[in-house]
Assembly symmetry: C2
Homo-oligomer: 540 residues x 2
């Protein structure tokens, strides 16, 4: 069957877009998570029609297809399937920006379009529009991230929520075009989200029910004024809960319309420096409290830090600044520093004096390098500054040129449970999580990501030595333990790692059953990504 | 089978909640649209468990179930199914407000909870929260409207978009609980919208794939400051397109965060007065331009009128007022009148002088009665003032006591296509629509409803004499013609009338097929509402 399949595919696609050589496949499919399955083929389609052909040929040959847009979901699964063999479909060569409507503030793009490509194009050609970028790499797929329910930081942070009108290759090989009253002359499918009749787009998020080959993305109108604040928490630990409650009030009142990530000391330190292995005691796998303190002092890092954007008219941004200051000033140091972007005299001065101010505040020089990318991220401009934190642990320094976290053997797992946006719940959850980190000998890494007015994602991460088998085991054990710990509290991750998908919905048989019923109805041969998000296993 | 079914149901439910008497059924199921099918039974469950039992019993008996929450979707279908016979399930007695979380700004309610009940309860018990209400009747179901993708007017106007975490009785009789990583101890299912894995809530909007018996509803945090403006368009017709473009800019800049309905003269006149049959020429079915002018002058109604709310801090609302004024002042008369709600001296003065000002502006006294309900609607407080416009045509006066539009034989059809939010497209669409109204002899009624930053719903409506067969035919012909006219332009309604569901998706076979595949998988016996939104017909 496989030979027939290969021949069929090679009639359709040039050989350079069909990889079956084992060593090439190996180098294309490294993972950060301590789990990896190798595909038999890697295929790079360049059009929806090719995807349709591949789906039909794979179904005929009984080969499963695992699809990634670019596979830069480092720490979640990268390019591994839940099973060995089959086809890995990489959509990175489908990277066209099909349409941009500046007046109505949307674009239609393919899955290979990266955050950087999209942002650069929009800024150059449609300056009244802003894209939103996640804190992950510039080379991540805009659509891949959105379909994985990834998050950004501007008011358009909800990437899936800002998709409108999808082209989806169904397991049958047909193309479904979602969008209002879909038909051959539909003018509004990228303008109105909920469609006529059932809203189907949700079926294709974190799913294996279809392959999205094109989508409308709603863009943000560039505001008249942009402000940027950076805040450092300086109070004792017992002030954290009231601080979280006050942060929620700022979000609920509409004062804060960006979606900041409140990073703890370790998360921040790994951005601005390298791991101080010399401070660690022999035989220990993580830092003691006093070693962490030493590291923090060296770089002038607070226990909690976050940046945030402000958007609106001149008067609105000024009022937001007053309101934020009123609330946050009592918890630490707040500075508004968007002025460094200013192209005039003020900006020049700020940039000139920034290193000095930075030094006076006790910060290491690396802070300056993070500041402008961080401000820009809240204007939707992607950066690699943050994702390079992954290199802090096992590499002597962060890469300066091109890099690939997975290929560079960075061990990384993310775990992002959603929890209620209240101080009490955050405190409780952090206490439990710290215990799990300590039990498994990992340094405590967390970011409190504002998800919406009601919930936060606690983004936990671990860095470990990817090539070391004992480390893989330790990482896997941490991952299982923290999943179990949060499930016990009633909290579940907004996004699953490939290695944990099997057990999703195990506590909810009705939910599991309906997902399997849908899978069976739409993909009876189980061609698309069997086992993704725990849905639809192959019958063999 | 039917007898067995009735016996089974009567073992479960008291007889007063099971109606099988034909005349009773007749009086419960009047419609405004010129279409009606009578059910064999009307059943009123009071709990999810009862709904489960009824679904199972109906499936066993081969009886279809058409479900309405309260059936107050006047002008869209009320309580008629697409077929005769079967069970009409009315959920109005499932009217519990299960939970309100003031801190996290959400409530969990049942489908029988009405706009008025919800708003009254929240205002009395949780004054820092606001509900959002549609311009329809106080007695409409909050969830029914949301699942039909109905709209409100505050920043929480997107009713379906503000649902989070549903309990759904599936055709199998099982209960699906959607929400993040659903499980027995889920604490966040009403806080985070997109779930783990595929997002399924969309399957249950405008659909027949399940019966929603409970849902989380996100509520708005009461703003520090509320403003209300009313605008009357006073320019020649050619200024309409630039006005629409400027309105879009106000929405896209975040200045206008409410979702106003820009009503044309006839829409506004039918709110403040009764139809001037005496001005109509013999043999004509609608008013001439000069008769309309006369009617307008009598009541001081502009060609286009809308009210809007402003929300935020004192400084933000002041800035929004300046910005709105800067833009709208050149198109007509803008007044900020939220002061009439003031409980102090200012409010007392405004209320005292309002009738005088009203008179000076050339308005009929009825305007005063509309003003306060209109302002309140933009604070989420429901009103019956607008829906009573339906009585303007065929009744001598609007009802003052309890009323039921369907029972009172008001002939009404709504048609709400979504169109791009641009002046040029609005102008073009209005021209086409006017032709259809004229062709069928109906007075031109339209509201431009702001749907989002990118699209408008053009809400067209006709009033006709429900009991008159010729009028029914004329209304049906208008409905068919306007559907066809807009489909021709590439525009489709955000919500379908029951009489037009059969032809949905006829131009999009892949979309139609996937909906049927889903229906067959989830409801193989086609128990739930066969034919709703054109999905799943019975095999008989």
């Amino acid at each position: 069957m496989s030979t027939i399949f290969l021949n069929t595919i090679l009639e359709l696609l040039p050989a350079k877009r069909v990889v079956s050589d084992a060593s090439q496949i190996d180098s294309l499919t490294h993972t950060c998570i301590p789990y990896r399955q190798l595909p038999a083929y890697v295929i790079y389609p360049t059009s929806t029609e090719e995807v349709q052909h591949i789906v039909k040929a794979a179904a005929a040959a009984g080969l499963p297809i695992w699809t990634v847009s670019t596979g830069k979901n480092w720490g979640y699964g990268e390019r591994t399937a839940t099973y060995a063999g089959g086809i890995l479909l990489i959509l990175e060569q489908m990277n066209k920006i099909i349409e941009v409507n500046e007046e109505l503030a949307y674009a239609v793009i393919e899955p290979g379009v990266t955050q950087e490509q999209f942002n650069t194009y929009i800024r150059a050609n449609h300056p009244t529009l802003w894209t939103d970028s996640g804190g992950t790499t510039k080379s991540a797929s805009v659509l891949g991230n959105a379909l994985d329910k990834g998050r950004g930081l501007t008011p358009h942070a909800d990437h899936f929520g800002n998709l409108c009108g999808l082209d989806v290759v169904l397991p049958s090989g047909e193309v479904l075009k979602t969008g209002l009253g879909a038909s051959d002359n539909n003018l509004t499918r990228h303008l109105y989200k909920w469609d006529t009749g059932p809203y189907l787009d949700g079926l294709f998020a974190q799913s294996n029910l279809g392959i999205v080959t094109r989508a409308g993305v709603w863009l943000m109108r560039a505001p008249e004024r942009f402000g940027y604040g950076v805040f450092e928490f300086k109070k004792p630990a017992e002030a954290l809960a009231p601080f979280v409650d006050d942060l929620r009030r700022l979000v609920q009142s509409g004062t804060l319309t960006s979606f900041p990530h409140v990073a703890n000391d370790y998360a921040m330190l790994s951005i601005v420096s390298q791991y101080p292995h010399h401070l660690r005691k022999d035989g220990e796998t993580c830092l003691s409290q006093s070693a962490l303190q030493t590291w923090r002092k060296e770089h002038g890092v607070a226990e909690w830090t976050f940046g945030f954007g402000l958007y609106g008219s001149r008067a609105v941004v000024a009022d937001q600044k007053r309101a934020v200051k009123r609330v946050l000033a009592r918890y630490g140091r707040l500075q508004f520093v968007e002025g460094v972007l200013d192209q005039g005299f003020v900006g020049a001065c700020m940039r000139y004096f920034a290193p000095l101010v930075n030094k006076l505040l006790g910060k290491s020089p690396a802070f300056i390098n993070v500041l402008i990318p961080s401000i820009n991220l809240f204007r939707g401009i992607p950066t690699d500054v943050f994702v390079k934190q992954v290199y802090s642990y096992h590499h002597p320094q962060k890469p300066t040129g091109p890099f690939d976290v997975a290929k560079d053997h960075c061990g990384l797992i993310w775990f992002g449970p959603v929890i209620p946006f209240t101080g009490a719940k955050v405190e409780e959850a952090l206490t439990e999580a710290k215990r799990v980190f300590a039990d498994h000998g990992f340094d405590f890494f967390v970011e409190l990501m504002v998800e919406n007015e009601r919930s936060l994602i606690l983004l936990f991460g671990i860095f470990y030595i990817r090539e070391d088998e004992a480390e893989q085991k330790r990482a896997t054990a941490w991952h299982e333990a923290i999943n179990a710990c949060f499930a016990q509290m009633g909290y579940y991750p907004y996004r699953a790692t490939v290695m944990s998908m099997e057990h999703l919905f195990s506590k909810d048989p009705v939910h599991k059953k309906i997902l399997h019923t849908l899978k069976e109805a739409l993909d009876p041969e189980v061609t698309l990504a069997p086992g993704k998000y725990g849905i639809g296993y192959r019958k063999d």
